[in-house]
């Protein structure tokens, strides 16, 4: 009671406005209503090129390049999956069905730009020019990142969801501070958009006007969880509006459409216009990884319906219709892809060269005493096990 009394008493010391309190029709001066949300909102329908008027504007060279990369990517996924069955890869998250997104992501970047992939984005990394074996070390298990990210301007394939997004923002921000013309393109799945890092990255990027493009491959599922259980937003692209950046929806199985939308977003970032969130609507045809049983959470009918929108067949159809591709061209693309797969198979069948002492080699710039000790211990163990098989059995030892 006393507290209440005290509160009341102190409230009388607050200055009352002169005269009766009137309703103020205008908001307080600090309030700045935004009048232009519309340019940020995605169109209700995903952007398409194939089968529309837009296709006539597309560069034929680009279309053919996209086709060749799609075929290679499809074959790469099949080969990598086969390698898991032979125990050559510990695990492989296939991007079959999503090749258009992967390929477009790699092709829209310039040499100096950076790509920030997730664990599923091997194709994007390879399409950017990385040696496939180096791209697969993470999944083979011989080293986490089998390449020098600075050399290729490809960040390590990120396994924790969405954590690479703030990295992309920081890198792009740093490049801009240095006056360098660098755009970062960061890839993330639909499930990853629920992580806090996704929110923080988008927010930072928009506030800093960082030259970043966030590219969500909405493939319908986060392992077993469908999009409807992931978000209540009308689309993932809508999430952009709240951060003050444009959101764009694109048909993720339409390679030239993905290429066009990403190109525009990259151009915008490069010219100082800030970040864009692009959502590609696509579908994961295979299970989450070879270790997953997708029949537990989705029916064959759904998968079949999506197969009718296969990105490779869609583009193939368009190119054939327009006389840009014939049976020979299709066969040549398939042969090239087979040759790539055969090379990959051979190289992956060679045992990786491992040096156990690498365990200690890259923990700190300068070895600590503890690590030196532990390294010596391992060295001794290794030396002991290097002894000929019969050593140690004789009396002499």
């Amino acid at each position: 009671m006393e507290e209440v009394h005290a509160l009341k008493k102190s409230s009388t010391t607050v200055q009352e406005p002169p005269g009766p309190v009137v309703h103020r029709p205008t908001p307080p001066p600090a309030w700045q209503p935004r009048t232009d949300p519309a340019p940020l909102l995605p169109d209700p329908e995903p952007y398409r090129v194939l089968g529309t008027e837009a296709v006539t504007d597309a560069d034929p060279e680009l279309l053919r390049r996209l086709y060749a990369e799609l075929v290679r990517g499809r074959r790469f996924n099949a080969q990598a999956t086969a390698l898991t069955k032979q125990g050559r890869l510990a695990v492989y998250p296939s991007s079959t069905g999503q090749e258009a997104c992967e390929v477009a992501a790699a092709l829209v970047l310039q040499e100096q730009d950076w790509l920030f992939p997730s664990y599923r984005d091997t194709l994007a990394v390879v399409a950017r020019g990385l040696d496939p074996v180096q791209a697969l070390t993470l999944l083979r298990g011989d080293w986490h990142t089998g390449y020098d990210p600075r050399e290729h301007r490809i960040a390590p394939l990120a396994t924790p969801l969405a954590t690479q997004l703030p990295h992309a923002v920081g890198l792009a921000h740093a490049a801009r501070l240095k006056g360098d013309d660098v755009v970062a393109l960061a890839l993330v799945g639909d499930g990853g958009t629920s992580e806090g890092d996704f929110h923080e990255a988008l927010n930072f990027a928009a506030v800093w006007k960082a030259p970043v493009v966030f590219f969500v491959q909405n493939n319908g599922f986060a392992i077993s969880v469908p999009l409807a259980k992931q978000t209540a937003a009308p689309s993932l692209a809508h999430k952009a509006v709240g951060y003050g950046m444009p959101g764009r929806l694109v048909d993720g199985n339409d390679a030239p459409a993905v290429h066009a939308v990403l190109t525009e977003a990259v151009r915008r970032a490069r010219s100082g216009g800030g970040p864009t969130l692009v959502e590609a609507v696509t579908y994961r045809i295979e299970a989450h990884t070879n270790a997953d049983d997708a029949t537990r959470y989705r029916g064959d009918g759904e998968v079949e319906a999506w197969r009718a929108h296969d990105p490779v067949r869609l583009l193939e159809h368009e190119l054939t219709e327009r006389g840009m591709l014939d049976g020979d061209g299709i066969r040549k693309a398939a042969d090239d892809a087979d040759a790539m797969a055969a090379r990959l198979r051979d190289r992956m069948n060679a045992e990786p060269e491992l040096d156990p002492m690498d365990l200690f080699a890259h923990v700190y710039a300068e070895q600590t005493a503890q690590l030196r000790e532990q390294a010596a211990q391992l060295r001794a163990e290794l030396d002991a096990s290097d002894e000929p098989a019969d050593a140690g059995q004789g009396e002499a030892r």
Partner: protein
Amino acid sequence: MTTVASRAPRTDLAAKPATMAQALRRAMRDAMADDPAVHILGEDVGTLGGVFRVTDGLAAEFGEDRCTDTPLAEAGILGTAVGMAMYGLRPVVEMQFDAFAYPAFEQLASHVAKMRNRTHGALPLPITIRVPYGGGIGGVEHHSDSSEAYYMATPGLHVVTPATVEDAYGMLRAAIASDDPVVFLEPKRLYWSKARWSPEAPVVVEPIGRAVVRRTGLSATLVTYGPSLTVCLEAAEAARAEGWDLEVVDLRSLVPFDDETVVASVRRTGRAVVVHESNGFGGPGGEIAARINERCFHHLEAPVLRVAGFDIPYPPPMLEQHHLPGVDRVLDAVARLQWEADS
């Protein structure tokens, strides 16, 4: 870890007594002036100068691109710092308080600590993560955690904590110059401790990674760091009355750990008490005691004892004096060492 020649503080600050907070600020200022790659990042570090004013004036002097008020998001702060470091900058991030660094823990454990390793040495991350830590300032919940054990348990990080004004300057310069991530724990109750900086004597400190004997003695060794150093020095003074001559080792660095200095001291004295304010169970003291046992077993006259905070979530401020190890608890432990040795 690399030694960095800490340079003399400039004359305006020299000669006058300086607080640890001022020394830290000065270290950042000098590092920024020396190397344009050094960037400060955090909540309220710009205009406000940090809630402890440790970054005071840096935004005004170097601009908002070098000392940046970020959105309120610790994972975002550390995550963007990772990207900045990948591009050649040397970010120094401020986590406002110990317990508010936890949202960034995933970035810390999954990326900051591992990037050099997973990229086979191609992407070292020279990031300094400043964390005001520990209790004793009457803070409310979530403002007094001692989180060092989490960081220590994460290979790939350096974990250091200064306990003197000189070290605050020298160690922060070294942390910023380090090519590896350093978790730089600032004992917030020592922020206002003072020392006189002489213009003639440049601030030369031991390189980080080395422990320092702050007081020599023969009866037993107190092994400590950060906020507990002053407690131990006081205890050592008080112990004189009992006829105990205590040596006090300030670890300064928890990772890497300076076994050499600790072992040399304990072998000399034959007795050791590890003192810290974070909880004892699963805390740094267990690791330190184990290391001493492994190396000094035949020199020990008594088991290595630990004086630590209780194994409880940090208590409310009105009770914290019961939780924090004070001079009496240290002296009690020392007494137990003597008794056990005699029996």
